[in-house]
Symmetry: C2
Subunit: 461 residues, 2 copies
């Protein structure tokens, strides 16, 4: 419950149209993509940065928990008010592209801007914002920055942190700070933007982001390789990258994933294949793209690729991408409950990782279809169980623990893209030492001594 | 002075051959490239990470100040023991390339590895480590990471922070932590590596760095453009970058810099030119390089370039680069004392910046030759005065203050590469608000509650 007077304060500050406290709205803001539900006590829509500052200052003084929220599309509960309090939404007012600076190739945006809206706006003027999380049609830049979102193009272009040049933010005490500059080089003061990225809204509330843009490559080509075994495909992935070619994307589907798509859509996919790899290359010259595809084909063939297709036009490219784009929902054929993780390992560990996941699936007699961003070692690992059977759910969680342990043993991380939030908080102690957790805790306290900002996420207390 | 027993503790721990406390060595470790001098009480050479941990733990318990030192090549006093204490050196033991992982295109190195040694080692196997600070022949990766070193190739390839995937470090209390992974994606926990980069050795002691490598581009070409005015050259810089071409380097010399080199070396440089731009492009295909050079030539010509030369071979490329490579020492023709800064602005502000620097020079009747990395907005700004005349030195410092204010007014930063250290600490309040300084201070305390690690640098207390 909010302290008495809090709703009045918020209403006086930002107007009653920007304060939701009715049941219907509180329910609407109680969930994210995890399907967990926690109702906030109120949802506030600040009109500008000064509102954010005033709200935080009040909440800090009155020890009111505050949770910043992007589109609520997160997979780990990062934006859920698991401890009550107020949710801050940016979709009503703080959702503008403030500037596309062509001269310096930079965009300045508010946190509520939708990723794809930014991509489209900059592409219209010949520029390019590469980070493309699967949620790109609805997730916001504020959320992307706070979760350090990745995507399919990370193999060549990196992830959100590689594009954040500066962040304006409000600290829990209401102080407004600017971190970074519209410059490639800036080494004055601590790299505050660096620590805010991926902090899951636990350190400060982002109010403005300055993003680096690239020139839009003039052309893209798509190819697909079919492999008899997943092991050979995984060998091909890291050997391609190490050969000197950097494809934009290098995505894979394992046999279970291929079968799930074929069963759903009947596209004539190779259901006997151990895996398929789908890859995009881009550049400004036809010769350059052909050079890259030749190199990829060579490495694929050396690693058992039985069929290599290059798309002749956009339609053929879309056909090659169809299975990858649609796999996520298709794998429900293997169970009504999907426990999906986004673990990531060094690319060279992919063959062993996939072999071990196969053993875990056999041990528990379940299916673990895998697909995802192998070009950067990021595997979407889906432990499928019967959601109505508590015993199956228990088995699923045992399997997930083994998935995490295997990943960590191979030098990988609990999360490549989705963050820790609530869902993975119980596993933090597998990945971090008590000393590392203590450091996280000190940093949290340095920013937020009263623990009002999205508290208890990421395994912090 | 060290507390009694400290030297014995260090000697017992790491052996007397790894503890220097004689006057000659203390003098040798008392300076860096600033020419300021502060003698440490001892210099310690840890053999491995556990030594670093034991030393820090002891220093923390006994409140002994500790300053980690790379090659002592810094320009801002970051490695100087301005408050006494012990200096930690890595050049005797912790100076190994531990691994070049070809499969994942990653290098793992100890802090004492020299930048160029790493570049050469990875290039031998076809890989590429782009950050190339001017100090590359002697500066260390530990120093590069702690200062977030840049270099000439930043315009295309970014700076040190863009290559750091993981850092092992020891906290002031002796805790050993690992931050990051050998993966492109990792969003579990706070981005500790992000805040350690550029922290100038004030938060933790780096013991191991995991660096991203690229495939070595197969070829490079060099070109030079001559411009009647510096303004036209600066217009050409940002318009080239915005046109969709990203040269590896885009370096400039202004008229004073050109004249200084010509006066020293008599190379037939265009002494009437307002500025020259020297640019490298790279790639894997001849056609691609030619495409890039055509584009650069077009934009240069549109912006007043009177002469555009493409080097036909390595010798011609070296000739075109000669002036830029040698300018730094030549400008001493303008005064015995050089107050050199490495301010950086958004590229589009370069024309106005250079115009305003010219006005500052006229106002104080001094020379301010400028050259540097215009491709990323980083201008080496040299206020030249007579070092024997106290009045001139005073004038120089007034001019520098105006240089900083102009830079900040144009959205730039006090330092693109060199850091703050001691030299620029007095100017921090020009660039940061009290709220931002308070945040830096909180972060410092979170890592180092007893303020033993390189204290009082960066304007912190």
């Amino acid at each position: 419950m909010l302290p008495s007077g809090a709703l009045d304060f918020f209403t006086n500050l930002i107007g009653k149209e920007n304060v939701y406290s009715d049941k219907a709205h509180l329910i609407a803001y109680s969930y994210d993509a995890t399907r967990e539900r926690f109702e906030p006590n109120a949802v506030l829509f600040p009109r500008h940065e000064q509102d954010v500052s005033d709200i935080l200052k009040y909440c800090n003084e009155h020890r009111i928990v505050l949770v910043p929220r992007g589109a609520g599309s997160g997979f780990t509960g990062g934006a859920l008010p698991a401890n009550g309090g107020v949710v801050l939404g940016f979709e009503k007012h703080m959702n503008k592209i403030l500037e596309i600076d062509m001269q310096n190739m930079v965009a300045i945006v508010q946190p509520g801007v939708i990723n794809m809206e930014l991509q489209r706006a900059v592409e219209e003027v010949g520029l390019f914002y590469p980070p493309d999380p699967a949620s790109q049609e609805y997730s916001t830049i504020g959320g992307n920055v706070n979760e350090n979102a990745g995507g399919m193009r990370a193999a060549k272009y990196g992830i959100t942190k590689d594009y954040v040049m500066a962040i304006r933010a409000v600290l829990p005490n209401g102080d407004i700070i600017k971190a970074g500059k519209r410059t490639i080089k800036d080494v004055a003061g601590y790299n505050i933007a660096g620590i805010l990225i991926a902090s899951e809204g636990t350190l400060a509330v982002t109010t403005e982001v300055t993003l680096k843009l690239l020139a839009k490559p003039k052309m893209t080509k798509t190819a697909m390789g079919i492999f008899p075994t997943v092991n050979e495909a995984m060998q091909a992935v890291y050997k391609t990258m190490a050969s000197g070619v950097t494809p934009v994307a290098m995505e894979f589907l394992d046999n279970l994933s291929i079968r799930a798509v074929e069963q759903t859509y009947h596209k004539g996919l190779p259901i006997e294949a151990g895996a398929i790899l789908i890859t995009d290359v881009d550049g400004n010259l036809e010769e350059d793209l052909d050079f890259q595809l030749e190199q990829i084909k060579k490495v694929f063939r050396q690693n058992g690729c039985s069929d290599f297709k290059i798309a002749k036009d956009k339609q053929e490219a879309a056909d090659l991408w169809f299975a990858r784009r649609n796999v996520s929902q298709c794998i429900s054929v293997y169970g009504s409950k999907k426990i999906n993780e986004d673990i990531t390992v060094p690319r060279s560990a992919l063959p062993e990782l996939l072999e071990k996941f196969d053993l875990i699936a056999k041990k528990y007699n379940i299916n673990i279809p895998c697909f995802g961003h192998t070009g950067d070692g990021n595997v979407h690992t889906n432990v499928m169980v019967d959601g109505k059977d508590p015993e199956q759910i228990k088995i699923g969680h045992h399997a997930i623990e083994e998935v995490f342990q295997t990943t960590i043993d191979l030098g990988g991380t609990l999360s490549g893209e989705h963050g820790i939030g609530l869902s993975k908080a119980p596993y933090m102690s597998m990945a971090f030492t008590p000393e590392e957790m203590a450091l996280f805790q000190s940093i949290k306290r340095a920013f937020d001594p009263n623990n009002i900002l999205n508290p208890f996420k990421m395994g912090l207390h």
